[in-house]
């Protein structure tokens, strides 16, 4: 119950902020942070709960974005339809990748996910309809109901999506799926022997994780009024989606949120005070530092500190 109250409050504050006269750029930048929360949360369902590292995040983001684009070009579909379609296609992709590679060992799964990114990128580059490597410009509606500008509306929509993502992750964690995934992470063989339907839970996780990553990507074409494959299928998304849960903590749905907020803030500070290239370095360095020294993330550190100070 507490969770839903906090979520409702968060939603209301986002709407209030969007209706206020705050600087437009706040919403432009805010979108990026919210997108990071969704990416991290989505990734963690497979990566953190089950231990299967998906490097193919950009592929799912791309599928979400380009499905949304296709719907816009063909039917001038509203944003919510684009998001739902993007999520569905990405879920299918997740299912497909899962079926193909889940029988393989961990690292092969991960390498296969990287392969998916480049193959999908090549598909887009060969499609003139989707813009090829040139990209496509989009026109957004000028007057938006209630919020005035499209960017503000997108900000509110992303807040809603972030809450959806966190709720899904919370549900999965506490359900039998989460139990199954934990069993797989700890020892897949043992889980198999004890009768856990490992393939089924892994596939469900693949689909859900994929769907959330697709949601993160679907609003992108409308956000920038422009889309092209190189930046959409950029490995940068993979590093962020990996780093944030590892920094925050992979075993709990709060972890990705914490990681996204910490990393997001740090990135902004570094960009403003030092340089924008170095802010990307911060992500990599923090990832390595946490993986080496604090593999359970911030949540793990807090737990340790609590038990040691008793």
């Amino acid at each position: 119950m507490k969770y839903w109250i906090v979520s409702a409050l968060a939603m209301l504050s986002a709407v209030a902020l969007a209706l206020s006269g705050a600087n437009e750029y706040l919403f432009f930048a805010g979108f990026v942070v919210l997108q990071a929360v969704i990416l991290a949360t989505g990734w963690n369902i497979l990566g953190g709960y089950a231990g299967y590292v998906n490097f193919g995040v950009p592929g799912f983001v791309g599928v979400g974005a380009y499905t949304a684009l296709a719907l816009h070009l063909l039917f001038n579909a509203p944003l919510i339809a684009q998001i739902v379609a993007g999520a569905a296609m990405a879920a299918l992709l997740g299912l497909g990748v899962g079926l193909l590679t889940l029988r393989l060992r961990g690292i092969f799964f991960s390498i296969a996910t990287i392969a998916v990114v480049f193959i999908l990128e090549a598909v887009v580059m060969n499609s003139r309809f989707l813009g090829g490597a040139t990209g496509i410009q989009l026109t957004r509606p000028n007057d938006v109901w209630l919020f005035g500008t499209y960017t503000r509306m997108l900000f509110v929509m992303m807040t809603l999506m972030a809450i959806v993502a966190l709720s899904v992750a919370r549900y999965v964690q506490n359900s039998y799926i989460g139990q199954g995934l934990r069993a797989v992470r700890d020892s897949e063989e043992a889980a198999d022997c004890s009768g856990v339907p490992t393939l089924k839970v892994k596939l469900i996780a693949c689909a859900i994780s994929g769907a959330l990553l697709g949601i993160a990507g679907a609003p992108m074409p409308m956000y920038l009024s422009y889309i092209e494959p190189l930046s959409t299928f950029n490995m940068h998304y993979a590093v962020i989606a990996l780093a944030m849960p590892i920094i925050g903590g992979t075993s709990h749905w709060l972890g990705p949120l914490i990681g996204a907020l910490i990393l997001g803030t740090l990135q902004q500070i570094v960009t403003v005070t030092i340089s924008s290239e170095l802010n990307v370095l911060v992500v990599g360095v923090l990832l390595v530092v946490f993986v080496v020294a604090a593999p359970d993330g911030m949540i793990g550190l807090v737990k340790k500190w609590k038990t040691s100070s008793k």
Partner: protein, 418 residues
Amino acid sequence: MDMIRRKLLGVTSSVVLVAGLATGGNALAADPIKIGMSMPQTGGLGGGGKAALLALQIWVEDVNAKGGLLGRKIEFTYYDDQSNPANTPGIYTKLLDVDKVDLLIAPYATGPTAPIMPLVKQRKKLLMGNFSFQVNSKIKHDMWFNNAPWNTAEDWAKGFMEAGKASGAKTVAILAEDGEFAQNLADGARPYFKKLGLDIVYDQNYPPTTKDFSSLVRTIRASKAEIVFIASYPGASAAIVNSISEIGLGPQVQIVGGAMVGLQFTPIAVNLGSKLNGITNYHVYVPGMPLPGVETFLKRYTERAKAENIDQLGYYLPPFNYAIGEMLEQAINATKSIDDRKLADYFRKNEMKTIVGPVRFDANGERANMRLVTAQFRGIKDKDQEQFRNSGKQVVLSPAADKTGDFIYPYSKAADAK
């Protein structure tokens, strides 16, 4: 308590008074006019972008030395978009919402400019184009004005194709980069080639990240095309020239080149050296063309460029970027305002006087008076920058008013000619 309060009041009010006087006194000259843009400083277009930026900075300094415009100094803000189209929407949003600039100039080149067209149209901002090609054709923004001396694909390819036809060639190969510029050009060129009665025997795109062109060059050779029309950006242009030199195009090729961006950047041209010989490409200014304003400007530009280690000859972008500044200056002074709409109306109706000659715009914001030259590289030596100051190194084939020599064909003969 009372004493302290009165003293505090006294101090505060005097501070406010002084501050008021200070700002009030400067109010006339205080507010600068903010002009903002992103300009590729690194990445494939960086070579051109750096030269262009220097020219704009020279203009800003010239104007501010005269006291600014409308009594206000110009404050110029720029960011490096790294030649990456994905970076420009974010940069221009930042320029408008965080830096709060008054006027926008487009980044150099079609690629980085295309993504911001919807944005500037939605925000109703004037955008001064910077060497883009037909980037406004889909968006149809009515406050767009491009400084480049070209308009349609037919205008562009005409000189090249006329030379090709003169050699009796019947077949053409099109190699176009998958990017806004080359695709716009190829889309416009294809119907024109068909109109000329030519047979398109090869028509391929390549992604901008392609590094090895050996297979493509080989396939073009196998197609036995006599005219090879290439539309490419700097990184690829250099790689293609290298590949042609390494693999060869075959004896049947009469003319090669057309729309290879980057061969006009001095560092790239010097690096490629003798490999350029025989290639027929477009240019906007070749030494010898009667544009005295350009010559004077380039003298000043070269001194600054030497100090900053940039393209020292500056024959491509710099004069035209200085011209952007001149056009803004003329319009702002004439309309006595920096309002986007007023300036746009002025541009639409009037002829600008600039160092690159008179500039008029058509209904799409592109040049109504074109001046693109088609030139063939001849007798280029390796590692020699100063040779490009001689007009004989880039023989102008068209337009007739600027012609300095005849087209030599086939390509292999031209490559060896002195």
